[in-house]
């Protein structure tokens, strides 16, 4: 086991989809109507709201959650039971990051169930605007799924380095 690179296989896209859908359903009562793999799209990610959650341990990399501002606002307002017009950008960033935190945490809990695996999570960071995450271009493995929600699409992915 190493502290850089990836010494253990990351979960499949199907598992990623299952974990993401569970969190959306339990935390926001938003069950995706469909999902599709979109792993390669992570290399040239251009979305309006992007949250990242870095991790180290048996693998080094980051979780990524991305969507439009409108979808993020709707999700966060639903989670907080507030009107969308009551949501500030800070609240959207914090709420969207918390959704990723739950997804990343649940992924970790499942992934470390295999003996010897370790994953240390940081705290989520969210940015607005059309963002190209250049670090994705150096990724060794990318897995992502795009969920179809009532209000639009949202991507959940994992990227490893080294």
């Amino acid at each position: 086991m190493t502290d850089s690179g990836c010494a253990a296989e990351i979960h499949s896209v199907a598992k990623l989809a299952s974990i993401g859908a569970d969190v959306l359903t339990q935390a926001i009562a938003m069950t995706p109507s469909a999902h599709a793999e979109c792993s390669e799209r992570l290399r040239g990610l251009v979305r309006e709201v992007v949250s990242t959650l870095a991790f180290a341990g048996s693998c080094q990399g980051q979780f990524v959650l991305a969507t439009s501002t409108d979808v993020a606002k709707h999700m966060c307002a639903t989670m907080l039971m507030l009107g969308e017009d009551e949501m500030s950008n800070d609240e959207i960033a914090d709420g969207f990051g918390e959704i990723l935190n739950m997804m990343g945490g649940n992924y970790k809990n499942d992934w470390i169930a295999t003996d010897g695996r370790r994953m240390d999570l940081t705290v989520p960071s969210t940015v607005f605007g059309h963002v190209a995450l250049t670090s994705m271009r150096n990724a060794t493995e990318l897995r992502a799924v795009e969920f179809e929600l009532d209000v639009g699409k949202m991507m959940f992915g994992i990227v490893t380095y080294g």
Binding site: A27, M79, N106
Partner: protein, 124 residues
């Protein structure tokens, strides 16, 4: 009895969700105090008078495990601390319990699940 509750979480969104869930779960909350990390939480806790502490694990500055450890050493009497976190590994839970936590709730949670866990701790 109305409880004075300290909520320690770096996410303001999660703190609001926890407060709402406490009320939905029928916990009689009189006063809530919010803290954005373990260091803020410890400072608030030293002010005294809390009946219950709900804390995240993964936070900047001082994480939930260090918060529990410091609270156990520095705050007498120590109110029950319940961890509310995505960190569900047995190792993390065992560490938290060793450092003074009395319960654990995994995110995402329902108000019912939160109430069930907290009532068990508050009845002790």
């Amino acid at each position: 009895m109305s409880y004075k509750v300290l909520i320690v979480d770096d996410s303001a969104t999660m703190r609001k969700i926890i407060m709402r869930s406490l009320r939905q779960a029928g916990i009689d909350v009189g006063t809530t105090v919010e803290a954005g990390d373990g260091a803020e939480g410890l400072a608030a806790l030293k002010g005294g008078g809390f009946d219950l502490v709900l804390s995240d694990v993964n936070m900047p500055n001082m994480n939930g495990l260090d918060f529990c450890k410091a609270a156990k050493a520095e705050v007498k009497p120590l109110p029950p601390i319940v961890m509310i976190t995505t960190e569900g590994s047995e190792d993390i839970i065992a560490q938290a319990m060793n450092e003074g936590a009395q319960g654990y709730v995994k995110k995402p949670f329902t108000p019912e699940k939160l109430g069930e866990s907290l009532n068990a701790v508050l009845k002790k």
